[in-house]
Symmetry: C2
Subunit: 142 residues, 2 copies
Amino acid sequence: MTFTEGIGLRRIDHVGIAVPDLDAALEWYEGALGGRAVHREVNEAQGVVEVMVAWPEGGAQVQLLAPLTPESTIAKFLGTRGPGLQQLAFTVADVEAAAAALRARGTRLLYEEAREGTAGSRINFVHPKDAGGVLVELVQPA
Amino acid sequence: MTFTEGIGLRRIDHVGIAVPDLDAALEWYEGALGGRAVHREVNEAQGVVEVMVAWPEGGAQVQLLAPLTPESTIAKFLGTRGPGLQQLAFTVADVEAAAAALRARGTRLLYEEAREGTAGSRINFVHPKDAGGVLVELVQPA
Ligand SMILES: [Co+2]
Ligand SMILES: [Co+2]
């Protein structure tokens, strides 16, 4: 194996789920699955309204993602794949360093430079075609 | 909201990813993403060979799932959806109690009774149609 150092991923940060109706989804994740909404945010640039849901023992969260506009990534995902698992996000110490390490091994990123994610984080995404069909997000917390 | 107690989910246990080639996937998750394979297992009943991948700070793991047979759930998933995110698993103290609580609110489970999952765990699944398109797994560790 050529790449023994990795790109500095520390842990799974969240699992993103595309939902058509944020409040209906939240009722399921809080009411049936016992999670708690810990953050709600509108990201106009991403065309998304989102809620982070946490569980009693902490750890990885669920990010519920609902579209603000028909042109948004989430609206397109809902249109082609339907509601469901949409992204897998990892916490990373330095998103630009991680992106550079991935590019050095020939892996494509979706953005030239990191953009603003949830709660002031800096994010980028690995191209799903270079990640076994998974939309992998890199999150450098604020 | 009617359901304030939830069903006893404690945290996200793992995220399952359908892969056509387990070793190629593992090279990506270990080599590029810096995870480590911590458990490998063949589950003949599920028709799957799987590897659990952990990250340096612990927390939720990735479960890579490759088909053993063309009739397996994972083979069918690969055939219709392609490789990618397949399931979201939560740790639960008592899988039968969680299943009963879900059934009491009209939510369907895939199995009548819990079956054997990874490393001697007991598992069941919420029907994706009752969980916003997500295949939610309940895991009671051994
Ligand atoms: Co995200
Ligand atoms: Co699983």
